[in-house]
Symmetry: C2
Subunit: 284 residues, 2 copies
């Protein structure tokens, strides 16, 4: 069976055709423009294949509350052409096959759960740290959606006393995303993270904030595995720093063992999102 997947990101779309085993047979990537052009380009690609189902991991916020009148719509986004766009309705019109819509981060979590670093775990939290911060959660083989999808990147944590950055979240100032996203690091230290040395204080500070967030996620969701991906995590020195801080902050309260195996990088080489999107179409 051929299955289609769309990783619908805010800056680029990835479309792929794959199978039930996580193999990708063909793939295309193009920039996200307005909905008509972007979905048109996706349709052109899929026209070459007889796909039987489609999974979509979308940027957000998107309404995933099936009881809502606006189910399947993109909600309030700074990308004005997509604001209130009826994404799911349009996809149904375009393809007329079963479609599963979820968040980009839930798709990535599902990808790593089915084929990657969390293959043998009962539950996995996938955190992405880049332009923004978000997280998806898979438990019992299903992606987690509450009343609507979580937005875990915006939680409150403790700002350090040696950090007087005002934060750059337009809603919450110094929430996690406001303190630890790529743009937050750049704004606080005056240059892009890539240009800071690997022993710059930025990394110890960012690790501290991410570790606090991970403690909060562990205390609330109790996942078996935590995977951290995204552009900022290309700074691989962050992983040992984060593990050390998680251990110190928990302070024996949680029974944490083998953090080297519990808190890890994704293993699907940036294909977790698109493989997860295809896997979404296979969920029951």
């Amino acid at each position: 069976m051929l299955i289609g997947g769309i990783e619908a990101g805010g800056t680029k779309f990835v479309c792929a055709v794959g199978d039930e085993s996580g193999n990708i047979l063909d793939k295309v990537t193009f920039p996200t423009e307005d909905p008509v052009n972007t979905l048109g380009e996706a349709k052109q690609f899929f026209n070459n294949y007889n796909i039987q189902a489609l999974g979509v991991g979308s940027f957000g916020p998107v309404d995933l509350n099936k009881k809502s009148k606006t189910f399947g719509r993109i909600l309030n986004t700074p990308k004005l052409e997509w604001k209130q766009y009826r994404l799911l309705d349009q996809l149904k019109l375009d393809y007329n096959i079963p479609i599963t819509l979820d968040t980009d981060v839930n798709a990535a979590a599902l990808g790593e759960f089915k084929y990657g670093a969390a293959k043998n775990a009962a539950s996995v939290l996938y955190i992405t740290v880049g332009t923004g911060i978000g997280a998806g959660f898979v438990k019992d083989g299903q992606t987690y959606i509450g009343k609507n999808h979580p937005e875990m990147g915006h939680i409150f944590i403790q700002q350090r006393k040696d950090d007087n950055f005002e934060g750059n979240c337009p809603y919450h100032g110094t929430c996690l995303e406001g303190l630890a996203s790529g743009p937050a690091i750049e704004k606080r230290f005056g240059k892009k993270g890539d240009l800071l040395g690997t022993d710059h204080v930025a990394w110890e500070m960012t690790a501290d904030y991410l570790a606090q967030a991970i403690i909060n996620y562990l205390l609330i969701l109790s996942p078996e595995k935590v995977i951290i991906g995204g552009g900022v995590m290309k700074q691989e020195q962050l992983y040992p720093l984060i593990r050390k801080k998680v251990m110190a902050l928990s302070n024996t309260y949680m029974q944490l063992e083998n953090l080297d195996e519990m808190i890890v990088a994704p293993t699907l080489n940036d294909e977790q999102g698109i493989k997860g999107a295809i896997a979404l179409a296979l969920l029951e």
Copy 2:
């Protein structure tokens, strides 16, 4: 069918016999002593009834990971006689009927979900604010357990700049419980909350911390309903303060409506725990 329920608290045990509709036919309360005496007293009570199943909402931490070697045990607790106590194994020996063990807060969440303030909700978070802070979560009719049960009361939030209290959590200092529990309020202000006026700054500050925590829970779990109970919440002025702060902190980021109906007090008059314990035995 007669069903037994035990609300196994750190200071008192409540045992009751009830039915499938949430009616309580008989109930007894006694102080929590060592396991032999306390479970013996429970057994004496239940000997009068032919119960077919037993639900137990226990203080913690308790091992609820079915794959764990210590499943069903009380873990590290300051109550030394209960430390590493094989609670579930002993109850199975005592009763020889199906037993469902969960946390006290999950039981309370389930009680309010089945019979109380969350009767028509798809998901409910039940927060208790008292000597400690904890929360239970029910979604799709099931109590939420991850790798182990959550301990949501210990999350990190932002301490206010006008609050230099060192916190009283022995593990995390200024985590939520360290800042907003009953003992934290007493230690910071020098007297019990009951003796502070209803317009004392303690309540505005406590509401702030609880509101931050609720924002974090909403962003991570996205529950439909939030119920806040426990001794500290007998200060009813907290409810409107908390709602106001949740709205302000979200700052239009979340689509929050009708907070008067979304963030509420329990309605089962302190029977949510024991009614929930009975309901645990009816879960599939």
